[in-house]
C-alpha cells in the first residue's frame, strides 16, 4: 500500500511499456498473449485486470483480466470481438503495448473456506488460473468447472484438483452449462457472460462473480463502468469491482450483451 497524495491509502498501480513476449492458441479463435510487465506480474491478484492501450489503436484503453503470471510476464486470454481485440491479436512478438495495472479488486478468498469451485464460461476462464493458484496456496480443494458452446471453443488449460468440462452441444464433458455442471462448495467464484452470472447468482447468492462493463478510465474517475446494485444506486466495476457478491448486483439492470465470454 502506498499513501496516495489525496491522503487515501491505495494499491500501487503501474504504467508499463510492455513487450509482447508470446502468443498461443488455446481454443477456436481464442488466444493467450504474454507480455513483459514485471511490476504488475509481481503484484496482481486473481480477478484484477490491466487496461491496455496501443498505437495505432482505439482511443480508449481496453480492460483484460490477468490470466496467468509467469516470472516477469503476465498473460491475457482473448478473442477478436471487435476492432480493438482484432488489432491486439495482429501484434507480433516484440511489439509494445501500454499496460496499466493491476486495477480493480480481485477475488477475496478469505481464510475460512476449505473447498472452492471455479465456474467459468467462454472467455470467463480469464481470471481462473490465478484464482486456482491462490486457493491452492491457501490450502483449499479446488474444483474448476468450465463451459463453452462446443468442444472446439473450450479452452482446456486448467488448474486445481479436479476439472469438469461442460459444452452446450455435449461434444465434450457434460451437456449443458457450467453453472448446471458445478457441484457446491464452501466458496464459489464465477466469471463469464453477465447472463451466466445472473444464473449463478440464483444458485449461489454468496458466490463471488467478476462482471463485465464498458470502461472509460479503468481507474475510478469517469463513472462509466456503473454496476447497478440491489440496495440501490451504482458503483464502479473498475474500483469497487469487478468482483462482487452475486446477490448484491441488480442483474436485470446490468447490460447482458457484452462479449466477455460470448458463450456458455
Amino acid at each position: 500500500m502506498e499513501r496516495g497524495w489525496g491522503g487515501e491509502a491505495r494499491l500501487l498501480v503501474f504504467l508499463v511499456d510492455a513487450r509482447i513476449a508470446g502468443k498461443r492458441r488455446v481454443a477456436r479463435e481464442m488466444w493467450v498473449l504474454a507480455m513483459d510487465a514485471p511490476e504488475i506480474a509481481a503484484s496482481v491478484r486473481a480477478g484484477q485486470f490491466v487496461n491496455l492501450g496501443w498505437t495505432p489503436g482505439p482511443l480508449l484503453r481496453r480492460p483484460f483480466s490477468v490470466y496467468r503470471v509467469d516470472d516477469d510476464r503476465i498473460e491475457i486470454v482473448l478473442k477478436a470481438v471487435g476492432a480493438g481485440t482484432a488489432q491486439l491479436l495482429d501484434m507480433d512478438r516484440g511489439d509494445r503495448v501500454s499496460c496499466l495495472g493491476p486495477l480493480g479488486r480481485g477475488f477475496d478468498l478469505g481464510a475460512g473456506p476449505r473447498s472452492i469451485v471455479l465456474v467459468s464460461g467462454g472467455l470467463g476462464v480469464a481470471p481462473m488460473p490465478l484464482a486456482a493458484r491462490e486457493a491452492t496456496a491457501l490450502g483449499m480443494r479446488v474444483t474448476w468447472v468450465h463451459g463453452a458452446r462446443s468442444r472446439e471453443e473450450l479452452c482446456t488449460e486448467s488448474g486445481g484438483d479436479e476439472v469438469i468440462w461442460a459444452t452446450d452441444d455435449g461434444s465434450q464433458g457434460l451437456a449443458g452449462t457450467a453453472v448446471a455442471a458445478a457441484p457446491d462448495a464452501d466458496l464459489v467464484l464465477a466469471c463469464g457472460p453477465n447472463p451466466m452470472l445472473a444464473a449463478a447468482a440464483d444458485r449461489w447468492p454468496d458466490a463471488l462473480v467478476a462482471v463485465e462493463t464498458y470502461m472509460g478510465c479503468g481507474t475510478g474517475v469517469c463513472l462509466g463502468c456503473a454496476v447497478p446494485l440491489k440496495r440501490g444506486g451504482y458503483d464502479r466495476a473498475c474500483k469497487e469491482g469487478p468482483v462482487y457478491r452475486a446477490a448484491d448486483i441488480d442483474w436485470t439492470a446490468l447490460p447482458a450483451h457484452l462479449p466477455y465470454a460470448v458463450t456458455a
Binding site: L100, T219, V221, P255
Partner: protein, 303 residues
C-alpha cells in the same frame, strides 16, 4: 527563465494545465499523477442533493472520441463538504467545484452552501445540463438564463466564478458576453457536444440514455474555434477545453486566445497526460525564448 504560472482573475495558478470536471473524480483516484504539473483541478459536477446517475451502458467509444451519459452521479453538497473538501484543504493547488442545478436559485443555493468551506477555491458553473424550470431548454443556450444562473451564484459567493459554456449554441459570443456581464470571472469553453451512436445489431442506441456528451480528439477543432470565438467576445480570461492530449493541442488553444486549458478524456488514455502537456508547453516556451504562457502570441483579431 521560463515560468509556467498563469493568473485567472484573482486566482494565481502555478501552471496553465488544469484537470477537467468529470474526468478526474475528486482528485483522490487518479494513479501516477505528477501533481507538480497540475495548475488546478475541477471536481466532478455535483448537485445540491445526491444523484444516482443514469443506467448503464453509460459510455461508448466513437471515432477519435467517446460519448458519455453519466447523468451527473454524485454525492451532493453535504457529502462533498464532509468527505472531500477537508482533503483538498491540504493540497498545494486550488480545487474548483463544478456546480449544477435545476433552477437558477438551486445553483445559488449550492454556491452558498459551499462558500467559505476550506478546500474549495472557486466554482465552475455547468450550464449544459437539462433545465427543468425552463421547460427542457439548456441554461447554456439562452443568454438570459445563462446570465440569471451566473448572477444567482455571483450573489452568494465571493470566490472566483467560472462559467462553462456549451458548444450547442448558434453564437457562443452572445452567451459569453451575457455571463461576463452577469459577473463571471472566467469562461471555460467547451463542454461536450451532444451525440448519439446506434447499435445496428440491437437496432437501438448504444447508450441507455439514448444520447451522450461527445469528448476527445474528435471535438478539438470545434473546441479551438469556439474557445477562440468566446475569447474574442469578452475581456475576462477563457480556459480552453476539448480534445487536448498533447502540448501542441494545448498550445493551439493558448494561441487562439485562451489563458489556460483543461485536459479531460486524455487522462483516461494516458494517466500522465497532464504532466506531458505541461512539460511540453514548458519545452515549447523555452525553445521559442518565451518567459511564460502569457508571452505566447494571441490570435484575437477584433471585428
Amino acid at each position: 527563465m521560463t515560468g509556467m504560472a498563469v493568473t485567472i482573475g484573482d486566482l494565481k495558478l502555478r501552471g496553465p494545465v488544469l484537470a477537467a470536471s468529470g474526468t478526474f473524480g475528486y482528485g483522490t483516484e487518479v494513479p501516477l499523477l505528477e501533481r507538480r504539473a497540475l495548475g488546478a483541478m475541477v471536481s466532478k459536477g455535483i448537485f445540491l442533493r445526491p444523484r444516482r446517475g443514469t443506467a448503464p451502458p453509460r459510455i461508448v467509444e466513437t471515432p477519435s472520441g467517446m460519448l458519455n451519459a453519466i447523468g451527473l452521479q454524485g454525492p451532493g453538497a453535504d457529502a462533498l463538504i464532509r468527505d472531500y473538501a477537508p482533503l483538498w484543504a491540504d493540497w498545494d493547488f486550488p480545487v474548483l467545484v463544478n456546480i449544477n442545478g435545476e433552477s437558477a436559485s438551486e445553483y445559488g443555493e449550492l454556491a452558498a452552501r459551499l462558500d467559505g468551506v476550506p478546500g474549495i477555491s472557486g466554482f465552475e458553473i455547468n450550464i449544459s445540463c437539462p433545465n427543468v424550470e425552463q421547460g427542457g431548454l439548456y441554461f447554456g443556450n439562452d443568454p438570459r438564463a445563462a446570465a440569471a444562473v451566473t448572477e444567482a451564484v455571483r450573489k452568494r459567493t465571493t470566490l472566483p466564478v467560472w462559467v462553462k459554456l456549451t458548444p450547442m449554441v448558434s453564437d457562443i459570443g452572445v452567451i459569453a458576453r451575457a455571463v461576463e456581464s452577469a459577473g463571471a470571472d472566467a469562461l471555460c469553453a467547451i463542454n461536450t457536444l451532444v451525440g448519439m451512436s446506434i447499435d445496428l445489431n440491437a437496432g437501438r442506441p448504444r447508450l441507455s440514455f439514448r444520447t451522450g456528451g461527445l469528448s476527445g480528439p474528435a471535438i478539438r477543432p470545434l473546441a479551438v474555434y469556439l474557445a477562440h470565438q468566446a475569447a474574442r467576445a469578452v475581456n475576462i480570461p477563457v480556459i480552453g477545453i476539448g480534445g487536448i492530449a498533447r502540448a501542441e493541442d494545448a498550445l493551439e488553444f493558448l494561441v487562439a486566445g485562451c489563458a489556460a486549458v483543461q485536459v479531460g478524456t486524455a487522462t483516461f488514455v494516458n494517466p500522465r497526460a497532464i504532466a506531458d502537456v505541461h512539460d511540453g508547453i514548458a519545452a515549447y516556451l523555452k525553445a521559442k525564448g518565451l518567459g511564460s504562457p502569457a508571452d505566447l502570441p494571441r490570435h484575437l483579431p477584433k471585428d
